[in-house]
Symmetry: C2
């Protein structure tokens, strides 16, 4: 890699080494994602805050989703999940979502994510988690299950509540035998419930 193209806001006295620049971008990204959410944070804004050129942020991190994943230390590209979900019919999402997530969470990559989740849940970074669900997942999936209109975001949030609970019960509380069940059995068990949240009938008066 070659010289960093630092913008005019770069503060004096900081070394221009790559790892320092990369870390500065991540710090700015965490701050902005936490304050404004993912949806209202641009690569450009992160670059400006970090005192670097947008092209450098793209060079280091690629997409905004990848920058977010790096900022919260999620060791995968969210598009690895979001991509396959886009190609899954709505009536199969209830099964597809846990089938994708559980093997990932069970993996070594997942262990790093669980550790991050644990600290996120107790610190101010909980904003980042909220933004991920509201700006990425709700937009991606919520729009496809918005029936009746207005219900999509709430449907997705009920799904999120079950998935977050799975994470906590399986990896943090480590309930047994729950934590040792094969991933596909867990996925099959929760699938109909997730599907009901996504496309099932909701109680009267539910839609805002």
């Amino acid at each position: 890699m070659t010289a960093t193209n630092t913008g005019r806001k770069r503060r004096p006295g900081r070394p221009a080494g790559n790892s320092d620049t990369r870390e500065r971008i991540l710090i700015s990204a965490r701050e902005l994602f936490a304050r404004n959410g993912i949806g209202r944070t641009s690569i450009r804004a992160v670059a400006t805050a970090a005192g670097v050129d947008s092209a450098l942020v793209h060079h280091y991190f690629g997409t905004k989703e990848k920058l977010f994943a790096a900022a919260v230390r999620i060791p995968i590209d969210p598009m690895d999940i979001i991509g396959p979900l886009r190609e899954t019919p709505v009536v199969e999402l209830g099964h597809k979502i846990p089938s994708l997530l559980l093997p990932l969470w069970d993996s070594e990559l997942g262990a790093a994510f669980i550790a991050t989740l644990r600290s996120i849940l107790t610190g101010s970074e909980v904003n980042l988690f909220r933004s991920f669900i509201q700006d990425i997942i709700a937009v991606e999936v919520g729009a496809r299950v918005d029936n009746p209109p207005g219900s999509g975001i709430i449907r997705v949030q009920f799904v999120a509540s079950q998935l977050v609970g799975l994470l906590i019960a399986r990896y943090i509380i480590a309930l047994e035998p729950f934590a040792s069940l094969p991933a596909d059995q867990v996925a099959e068990t929760v699938a109909p419930n997730l599907q009901r949240y996504l496309t099932g009938d909701l109680p009267d008066g539910f839609v805002p």
Copy 2:
């Protein structure tokens, strides 16, 4: 309250004041509950570890469940929930459980519990939470939904995963509009899913 009846293991040099004794009992209770679980911890063992008489522990805290609640700073008696559940037919538990819990969690008492949960999830006290689910809830409810035999504990753990997720999504991540939905709407929405975990068909090969 009168003089504390300290047993022979009471260490020298400690004042015998009530609040000190009470705190010492709670510290011993937390240690033993965390190490051995609620089921294998007796009031007597806690009393011995704290260097006091069992009668004093009963005097201060009443039942073992109440001692546990005090040890983990849950500001209610678990029997306030467990009692009504005992009188609820199994086919109505899916609705009754969230109908009891959500108003409680939404209350001021709940706020204290959420704060405790947050720290429990990141610290070593997670053992206490695990024990509460496995020794109290699994025994109370699991035995009633153990059909086919062996499935009861897993059914309860899936229920726990959804309930813990509700807690996190509503109170810690504070997803909106999810966090602002009326408690009864949330309860009605999750009820059929909890009921399915408790009494519905499970995937083949699920029962250990």
